[in-house]
């Protein structure tokens, strides 16, 4: 987990412009969209090149163990159908034009349009991701504040030690432990899947879904708490050493009141931005968590696509993940501007 201690400083490099809200918003959105399109083009290109490099024979990957029994003619037929015999440049152009039209191809594993597969799988992952995102953010923030408030004392040391340890723990191992204890040994929760086995997924009740969601969500949350705690703690300690807090203490402010009124909002400003930026790590973690709990979400689909050589699906997921991360970062940027009164919402920040 990346415990990068970022403290973005609110900089404005432009003098306040004359007010024209609609033009500002439109320009803002267009600029960001262009950036996203550039990223997607880059990812698509890199992805395609990587797939070209891959020594895996897509036909073997698709057919799996039965590949030995494939006759030459059958191979040729499959290759023709998937356009595997065309030169790379032609395939790239073909694929790119499809992409632009929104056609991401067909998944070789599920034999369905990639967009459809991703849609279904993402809906399943959404609950997991959202829960973990909220929980890790809220609990991590609270723990960070508690640690800072108790700086130097045992509680702070305990929280810090726990956070550092969790940050070094492999996500899937935490999941395995939780699985062993709560599902296998205690039997409190099911061991796999998003819905009870043997049941039509559409029939599952909300309670059953939640029941299956608990452990994977817990796993993802636990691992996500650590960096938030550590960053919040650092930021809160910085604020506690600031001149504003000195003056507050001179007025008699102390303890939890001081934290609530002087530290919380100041620490929340960068914390919010980071929480949105953590979506990237969250997606990565979900791949591992879903694998451990056999949860049929987008993460598990990524693994299957990689193991079984489903190139269209793998590339589709890469593009989709890029969009998600981008949107997350943008929302985080906007949210931070709204929360910090010193930064104008639509102005251009100093670029790195």
């Amino acid at each position: 987990m990346d415990v990068e201690l970022l403290t973005p400083t609110p900089e404005t490099t432009e003098a306040p412009r004359p007010p024209s809200p609609s033009r500002d918003v439109a320009g803002f959105v267009v600029r960001r969209l262009l950036h996203l399109l550039g990223l997607l083009a880059g990812v698509a290109l890199v992805g395609f090149v990587l797939m070209e490099l891959s020594p895996v024979d897509p036909i073997d990957a698709y057919v799996g163990g039965d590949a030995v029994r494939l006759g030459e003619q059958q191979r040729e037929a499959i290759a023709e159908r998937w356009g595997l015999n065309d030169p790379p440049a032609e395939r790239l152009a073909h694929w790119a034009s499809n992409l632009v039209r929104g056609d991401l191809g067909t998944s070789t594993i599920f034999n369905a349009p990639v967009t459809q597969v991703m849609g279904q799988r993402f809906t399943a992952s959404l609950a997991l991701l959202a829960t973990a995102w909220v929980l890790s953010g809220v609990i991590g923030f609270a723990l960070g504040l508690v640690a800072a408030a108790n700086h130097g004392r045992h509680l702070d040391r305990a929280i810090r030690w726990t956070a550092y340890t969790l940050a070094s723990a492999p996500t899937f191992w935490v999941g395995l432990l939780l699985l062993t204890v709560f599902a296998v040994q205690l039997g409190w929760v099911p061991t796999s899947g998003a819905t009870p086995i043997g049941m039509d997924p559409a029939q599952a009740t909300l309670f059953q879904r939640l029941h299956h969601l608990i452990l994977p969500a817990l796993t993802l949350s636990i691992v996500g708490i650590a960096p938030v705690t550590l960053h919040t703690r650092t930021r809160a300690l910085e604020v506690l050493g600031s001149e504003a807090v000195l003056f507050a203490r001179a007025q008699g402010d102390s303890g939890w009141g001081l934290i609530r009124h002087r530290v919380m909002r100041n620490a929340a400003v960068p914390a919010l931005m980071l929480q949105f930026a953590s979506i990237s790590e969250l997606l990565g973690g979900s791949v591992l968590a879903e694998q451990v709990f056999n949860y049929p979400g987008l993460g598990q689909a990524t693994v299957r696509a990689g193991v079984q050589g489903d190139v269209p699906l793998l590339l589709g997921i890469a593009l989709f993940a890029t969009v998600l991360v981008f949107v997350g970062n943008q929302v985080g940027d906007i949210a931070q501007r709204m929360v910090d009164p010193r930064v104008p919402v639509l102005g251009r920040r100093g670029r790195r």
């Binding site: 990587l50 891959s54 899937f172 062993t180 693994v303 790195r352």
Partner: protein, 289 residues
């Protein structure tokens, strides 16, 4: 004269009797390096023991003769774990080193070859950071067909961007300094400037960055192995040991998952602390700790 800036309240008293923090850091670094070296040595020596199946003693709980117990093939789990850890450390070192070097080279290019190069590198960094680590890892590992090379390349390729970003900013700062302008005016070539000034200034941050990349590299190697993208299923990579353990969960052999994972956690933590102490020793900004 600068009065020391306010330290946050509640900071533990630093009287002159407390052991010197810097000295402690040096001790910690030395001890940790010895421990990690011991793991690597142990892993090398135990390679045969780790591979020996003993079908009469399968799935044994931890005991004196098998401190970590035995796995589903009767192999001693402690030996397997140590071999796996050695693998993780080697792969981690290699991948982190390659990553750091890529980051360094690219940031030197960005700083010394003009605005065009700088923008290009910046765009490249953005691109790689736009995709979640694990997705990129899987993509690259898949492209290289798995195996050791695939894992090393995948981990190396995923970690250079964040360090590159740091070094690029630092590089820009160096290039804007007066003594660099002087060198330029004296007619020194860009290459010369790059080597003499840039390299010297980027080296400390490069070293710190390299050591800080370590724990992530190890964790990602384990993740890839766990998912089945790394080495062949028989090799004792810790991720594979844990994947096996997952299959065996219903048999109640809890030690198969807990102990190797704990060992990996300890190693990652050790590497993390090592990096932190190195940073404390070399970073001139840590004066007031």
């Amino acid at each position: 004269m600068t009065v020391p800036t306010l330290v946050s309240p509640g900071h533990p008293d630093v009287t002159l009797h407390l052991p010197d923090r810097r000295r402690r850091a040096l001790w910690t670094v030395s001890i940790l390096l010895i421990v990690l070296a011991a793991v690597v040595v142990a892993g090398t020596l135990l390679a045969d023991v780790a591979a020996k199946p003993d079908l009469l003693n399968r799935r044994q709980a931890p005991s004196l003769s098998h401190p970590f117990g035995t796995d589903w093939l009767g192999r001693d789990l402690l030996a397997r774990t140590l071999v796996g850890l050695r693998l993780s450390l080697v792969v981690g070192t290699l991948a982190a080193a390659v990553s750091a070097v890529i980051a360094l080279l690219l940031s030197i290019v960005a700083a010394s070859l003009g605005r065009w190069a700088d923008t290009a590198v910046g765009w490249l960094v953005d691109l790689f950071l736009a995709v979640p680590h694990l997705v990129l890892l899987i993509l690259v590992a898949f492209a290289f067909g798995g195996g050791l090379t695939g894992v090393v390349v995948a981990v190396a390729v995923t970690h250079w961007p964040s360090l590159a970003r740091l070094l690029r900013a630092e590089g820009r700062r160096v290039m804007e300094a007066d003594y660099v302008h002087l060198s330029r005016n004296l007619g020194k070539s860009r290459w010369w400037i790059g080597r003499k000034h840039l390299l010297r200034h980027l080296l400390p941050q490069f070293t710190v960055g390299l050591v800080l990349l370590f724990p992530h590299a190890i964790l990602h190697e384990a993740a890839l192995s766990f998912l089945g993208f790394g080495l062949p299923p028989d090799s004792p990579a810790v991720g594979i040991i844990l994947a096996d353990a997952m299959r065996e969960l219903s048999s109640g052999a809890w030690w198969l998952a807990l102990l190797p994972g704990l060992a990996l956690l300890a190693v990652v933590k050790a590497v993390d602390v090592l990096g932190d102490q190195v940073r404390a020793l070399t970073d001139p900004r840590s004066v007031h700790e």
